[in-house]
Amino acid sequence: MKLKISAIAAVAFLAIAMTPAVTAQAATNPALQAEVKALNASGKSYTYWIGLIFSDVANQTASDNIKKWAAAKGIKVDPVMVNQNNLTANITAALTAGTMPDALDIGSGLMLQLGSKNLVNVQSVYDELGQKYGGWNKAALNFNAETYAGKGLGVPFGINGNLINRRLDILAAAKQKRTSPVTWEESLNMAIATKQPGAWGFATGNVGDAESVFGAQLKGYGGRIANDAGTKCTLDTQATRDFLALTMKAYKAGAYASDSVTSDGAWDNNKYLGGKTVFIANPGSVYTTLINGSATWEKNPTLARNTGFSALPGGPVLRVAPSDAWLRAIPKSSKYPELGKDLIRQLAKIGQAKAYYAAAIYGPVLKQYNSFSFWRVSVDPARAGLFDLATNGTSSTFPDTNNAAYAEFGSGFNLSQMVQRYLYGGKSANETIAQAQSTCQAIYDKYNK
């Protein structure tokens, strides 16, 4: 008995002793202390760019967490909220002007494009946090793959991705099944059965929503953007033609809304919130708006109850659940990289993360975050979907290789443009695919000289 108690005590002691070791290491890190001194001597503030996301509370929580960290360190800090939608322009100018922040939130695509030339390698922090918080969830592990070109350049803090939101009441009235559609074709048929124009409320314009849904559909039909090596484009296939046939079926049936091609990122959300469509793909902001209301939308608990959430459907070949991440990164221009690493450690703490996730629409990155109550379906079905995405989702590019060329192809909305030429431009499938293939190969060649 005594031995057992001693063993438990020893384990407990070791656990207690090891947990603060990481924090203590940060506190006693001479390089960190030197940076604190240097920053204070300069009279300047440590700057952090917070990527503005949906929910003001989430943005404010992030800002408060950073200010608390700075106060504890005895430094001045300037957490600047930068609109994610304008981040590329801001970074482009800041890189040239030498006004990059000391650390920032960044999307994986932009991180890949900045690369190791501009960003500090923070793999050690990634490893350390994984060890401390029970490991990384599957979606966050994608950023640690040896084949991932951006490995080590950022520490994930939020998993995002689309879930299908569907109108259960309208589908029931059209005598459609209550369970989620398994394939894109099935969801399209359900939308058509409602006889509501624009019921398949997916965007077809030059917008991220359209590009990501088209990407998932293309892959569902067995299509690929490029080969496994990530060097040669492989759009000119029968699978791409099959995918285009699906979009044409939707178009001819009137399932796409007439204004879907002139859409912006909020177009589908507003359609759904306004009761004008049956299916949309959304990362969780719609549900949050239905429950809490927003600056421009009243709460709508009835519509919330009539909404079903599910993963993106698949095609005849594959079903992908593309998840992406926002990461924390440190530009190489920062004079205070150790402070940046320390801040990343601080923001990853359970208490800080819990307050942030409660307001943000991100899935959890670390396994110890998985116990937060709001991931349960009964508490918040949209966050439960994000949790599912974080723990089971595929990478945003799967099965394609995640590299800078892929990111550039996507940020140019090239899949969406391929579909637009086919649906609205009167081009044949062969013509539009040939054009997309050519554009794609030019991008991949640029990165594979």
């Binding site: 304008n86 990122g265 009761g275």
Partner: protein, 276 residues
């Protein structure tokens, strides 16, 4: 004869009505939408002003960020306009009245500077403001705005100065006036409509400018109104009706300026275009 005139008038006013609808409809839609709720806009789509309410305006006026950005825009556009008018007068005077080598080339360079798209210049200008320690400040933005407001003003005023009889300045000089006195007492009163026109056009250019403000002034405290409006769209959320309310308030000062000074603006543009 009367019938022919009547027919022509009907034709003329019909064309004008079509043009007016084309020009005014976006403005009307902006204002009408700004008085609606987002849910009404999507659930009850209508071009008519229905379900009117003041919620968006109340939100805008209650927002500290909005008020701050409004003050910033007024400051930047006001100072940039004042400085631009002074510099433009001096530049246009020098380029038309004074005789010096390379005068014509310099005039052309100014036009080129005025015509260069902002998208080509935003990175170099961001670098320059950073190097002189003026990033993230209203002073820096004012300086940057002078890079396009001064060429614009100079280009327009050259036309006005060319319209003046050259002997006027010479006569003043013979009577003992200095160049500055001749400019101040004789020439400036004669080109007053041009000055008003330049002031309105440069104020509008500075007031509406987005790209430079977006990339040079990152901090919330120094954001201008166009950036504040842009920042209303966060991630995949776009509060359209609120954006329209912000935009209506933002458009009001410029519309007022144009209304008051429309005669001068037309004259200014015509003179600048013909003589510049």
């Amino acid at each position: 004869m009367y019938r022919r005139n009547l027919k022509f008038s009907i034709f003329k006013y019909s064309i004008l009505a079509v043009v007016l609808v084309f020009v005014l409809f976006p403005l009307y839609y902006m204002v009408a939408t700004s008085f609606r709720s987002q849910s009404s806009m999507y659930m009850n789509p209508s071009f008519l002003p229905v379900d009117l309410q003041l919620k968006n305006y109340k939100s805008a006026l209650a927002s500290k960020d909005f008020i701050k950005s409004l003050i910033n825009s007024l400051t930047v556009a006001g100072v940039a306009t004042t400085v631009a008018v002074v510099f433009s007068v001096m530049a246009a005077y020098a380029l038309t009245i004074l005789r010096f080598k390379g005068r014509d080339t310099l005039g052309r360079v100014i036009v080129v500077a005025f015509l260069t798209p902002g998208a080509l210049l935003f990175i170099p200008l961001a670098a320059i403001t950073a190097n002189i320690g003026m990033s993230n400040s209203l002073r820096g933005l004012i300086l940057v705005y002078l890079s396009f407001t001064v060429p614009l003003g100079t280009y327009l005023l050259i036309g006005f100065f060319k319209n003046l009889v050259g002997e006027l300045e010479e006569a003043a000089r013979i009577d003992g006036a200095t160049r500055l006195q001749a400019l101040w007492y004789i020439l400036l009163p004669l080109i007053a409509p041009g000055l008003v026109s330049v002031a309105i056009l440069t104020f509008t250019a500075a007031w509406n400018e987005l790209l430079y403000s977006l990339v040079i002034n990152i901090s919330p405290g120094v954001r201008t109104l166009p950036v504040a409006i842009l920042n209303l769209s966060v991630a995949d959320e776009t509060p359209l009706t609120l954006i329209m309310a912000y935009s209506t308030i933002a458009a009001a000062p410029v519309m007022l300026l144009y209304f008051v000074g429309q005669k001068f603006i037309v004259e200014g543009l015509q003179t600048g275009a013909v003589k510049g």
